[in-house]
Amino acid sequence: MQKLRLFYCVVAAAVLIPAAAFAASAVSEGERLGRPCAGCHATNGYAPGEYIARIGGQNADYMTKVMKEFATGKRPGSVEMSLLAKGYSEADIAAISEYYGGKAWKNSTNKIDSKKSAAGLKLAKVSGCFDCHGAKGEGIDSFPRIGGQNSGYLYEALKRYKADKIASEEMALVKDMSESQLESLAQYFSGIRK
């Protein structure tokens, strides 16, 4: 769906702009607004650290939803994003999300604890994580990608669902889990490399 939309944009641009100029520089509104995000999220949104999320190749609809919720204070645990997202209109947010969502995903390079990761896999299997997030955590429909995401970010996000700091019926299943179980899940999903 999202790929189709992008393809359409490119075709439209090629038709409207003379060939020479198009080859020179075609910067979408999402790219213009989204470039500065790379100061934290790295070029193309491939954040190399542990706690700043990867956004290049994340599901665009999910990013749009999350950015709007940052702006309206519904995800107060993400303090930087709550301040920054207020600087963009809804149209801006959709355009930026489309820009980063259109990138190919690149998996995390974080170091993974193999014991915790193995425990995480076991828990994931019995908890149904794959049903909603896909066999490799690649995301299904508007359910976000979690496979290959940075480990610290995954752990922080899971703790927030547990503490009800992010309201989500689908993620309510983690409320009964311990923090060490959540850490194991984060280690497992972050460690997915293919």
Binding site: S25, R32, P36, G39, A42, A47, P48, Y88
Partner: protein
Amino acid sequence: MSITRRNFIKYTSAAVAGASVFGQVHIASAATGVIMPKKGKRIVVLGGGWGGCTAAKYAKMEDPSVEVILVERDPKFISCPISNLVIGGQKTMKDITFTRDKLAKNYGIKIVYTEATALDAVKKTLTTKAGVLEYDKLIVSPGISYDYAAIEGLDNPVAIKKFPAAFKAGAETVALREKLVAMKPGGVVVLAVPPAPYRCPPGPYERASLIANYLKKNKKGSKIIIVDANDDVTSKGPLFKKAWADYYKDILEYIPDAAVTKVDASTGVITTEQGEIKSDVANIIPTMTAGKSAFDLGLMNKPDDKFVRADAYTLESYNFKDVYVVGDSTHNGAVGGVPKSGYIANSMGKVAASAAVRTLNGQEPLAPSLINTCYSMVNDDEAIFVAATYKYDAVSKRIISAAGGTSPERSVLFGHHAEDWALGIWNDILA
């Protein structure tokens, strides 16, 4: 550090973006004629720091067919951000020292390691110690210079060595760290904050916090006294003051309205508007101006200007068409109320690169959109921050803040984010 290198240019090139061709050629200098004659469209970038490297990379990303030449004096890229952690002992110089090789390798940017000396904006040439470079567009990001002469007794090699500013990362950073390590327990450290505007508003206060942290653990009975030329902490004041009260109550003293007027390198006595202090180690951060090259190249618009006026939409300088200015050298009155930070230099580099590429290709420049965030560590693992987005305001014709604020408190999670921010932005600048 780079002096021995000045007789050479290290010319790094890769013919095609993404190609694996990657050679380094050394050419003897003293060239006065045109080097690397211009064939097609060309952007020259002066200054391979935060603004300049970003501009070079994003110009190539936007239009790989444009030739991009980066002129930089220092073969190493040493990061100012995180350098306070080297002074505090949490990190080493190795952690903040990088090469610019990936810019050549991944994007085909040609890097000439030499010093720029003069500009001819009519002929459109930049003169360097390695020869003359022709350009279609020139993007200038020369950083800052210290005004040592503003403080009596400071403008001589002995005093400069005795009181390292360490607001350009490198040898000065190492010197300050070594002085702290060598100091006897019970010593007095003075840290002088210059009058605004200066690079990295929270930088001196972060440094003071980390020095206090070091003294608390390693130098019993020592003190750090901040003498501030400003009337209050210039950034994140309440957050810094809370951390100082909670962690460094008997170690850190803050004195506002205390500009340094005089230093004595033989006795270590620092004279301020509020009186004299005998120091064992003193970090005197002088008043700052735009990088010296900005003056040498004739970019100052009014006689008393210390920073470069540029159009807020494109960052094209008031003085010369096709010459753009980014980073700490820019004049806030002209550009708007953005801090002199690495993050802003990074954002500005993208704005100027896009404006240069697009106008070179006969397209309209796009409206600027910028972000700033400055994290400050207050001890080994907790950080505070300020974050904001900026956009162009058509009424005032300036860049204005669209949203933002400071962290409500300090936290370990923000400490992790601070570390990740550095990794992310180094990637965006250099890789």
